[in-house]
């Protein structure tokens, strides 16, 4: 308050208004949670039909990338033990983009890839013991009942990361930018479709073992 003035001020004292607002603010801060609706999306397979026998596996073994996890959280990838989960991303990427024995369709797909991915295929791929072409490639992940959920999500995350990197590279984006594409926007939806064209995200989640191992 100004001291020198003789006439009393006609204002209402609003100094404590800030305190009241602070109190409300702290109340809301404490009682609310920021909505967290993000995560790794997965589509589960349809339930098995009891009247039908389980389908025969006609896929060539080399077209299946096998990841297994046991109850001690140890990974077995393509029959080899693996300690670093983060290495999976590169391995799966190499597996999808192998083009070991592509069909006519596969060769057309290869020709449509950008130069960066084609050089990836030529330097890392073309192996006869890995997948024939992206369309045939399947990533299979089998966990044990005793596997921790943390490892399960990590492996799924790596699989998605590998695919998203491939998709992103096709349209000149990073994996993160690819995920941020807004499917409600027709232009971005077209990009999304172009990226996924011909390379299906085939992830098979096998039912876990009943016995810990």
């Amino acid at each position: 308050m100004a001291k020198g003035k003789s006439r009393p001020t006609a204002e209402v004292n609003s100094g404590s208004m800030a305190d009241i607002a602070f109190l409300l603010l702290i109340f809301f801060l404490v009682t609310t949670t920021i909505a967290n609706d993000k995560g790794v999306l997965m589509q589960l397979p349809p339930p098995p039909d009891p009247t039908q026998p389980p389908p025969d596996i006609t896929k060539n073994q080399k077209n299946i990338f096998k990841i297994q996890a046991n109850s001690l959280d140890k990974l077995l990838v393509e029959e080899e033990p693996l300690t670093e989960v983060t290495e999976l991303r590169g391995m799966i990427k190499d597996f999808i983009l192998n083009f070991g024995k592509p069909s006519a369709e596969g060769r057309a797909l290869y020709n449509s890839l950008p130069a960066s991915l084609r050089s990836h295929v030529n330097s890392r791929g073309r192996r006869q013991d890995s997948s024939d072409e992206p369309k045939e490639a399947i990533v299979s992940f089998k966990a044990d009942r005793g596997t921790s959920y943390e490892l399960y999500v990590q492996v799924l995350d790596e699989i998605h990361a590998a695919y998203n990197e491939v998709y992103g590279a096709r349209i000149g984006l990073s994996a993160e930018e690819f995920l941020l594409l807004d499917k409600r926007d027709p232009e971005q939806k077209a990009m999304y479709k172009a990226a996924r064209e011909g390379i299906p995200k085939a992830v098979s989640i096998a039912e876990p073992n009943k016995i810990g191992g």
């Binding site: 609310t32 609706d37 790794v40 995920l179």
Partner: protein
């Protein structure tokens, strides 16, 4: 700081009249961006961290299943349990829960229902896969493994 002499009549106070407005702005920001917790979560919830996160587009289609160690260990034991709506359930009750949730949606949206699995990192895959089997049976096959962003 005796160099600075008090200037004669002017007030030295910082005007604080705008402070409440600033605080109110903050308050409204928090009120708008947060949602009130509508159920009490009775299990431990430490979500896993991952990098490839997708965001859900329609919140009305999402139902939540919580899995984790109960907070009241002496009452419910230390084994991870499944919580839906405010109660603990067994895996076989999941189908009924899914059907209840589907009834809340309109006919055309029923098969687009998304189940958000909020699972604690310490839970084992056994209980999670039991839930998944039931979700397959109940034809709610779109699943979101709720997780936080990992920074690396």
């Amino acid at each position: 700081m005796s160099k600075f002499k008090k200037s004669s009549g002017t007030s030295q106070e910082i005007p604080t009249a705008a402070l409440p407005d600033i605080i109110f702005m903050l308050l409204f920001f928090f009120m708008v961006t947060t949602v009130l917790r509508d159920k009490t979560i009775m299990v431990k919830q430490e979500l896993p961290k991952s990098t490839q996160l997708s965001k859900l587009e329609r919140k009305s289609l999402v139902s939540y299943i919580y899995i984790g160690k109960p907070n009241k260990v002496d009452q419910f034991g230390s084994e991870p349990k499944i919580q839906v709506n405010d109660v603990f359930v067994e895996p076989k009750d999941i189908i009924r829960f899914v059907n209840q949730e589907k009834d809340k949606l309109s006919e055309v949206e029923r098969d687009q229902i998304t189940m958000s699995l909020k699972v604690d990192v310490e839970a084992k895959m056994g209980i999670v896969s039991d839930v998944q089997e039931e979700l397959r049976e109940a034809n709610a096959r779109k699943v979101l493994y709720s997780s936080l962003r990992r920074l690396d």
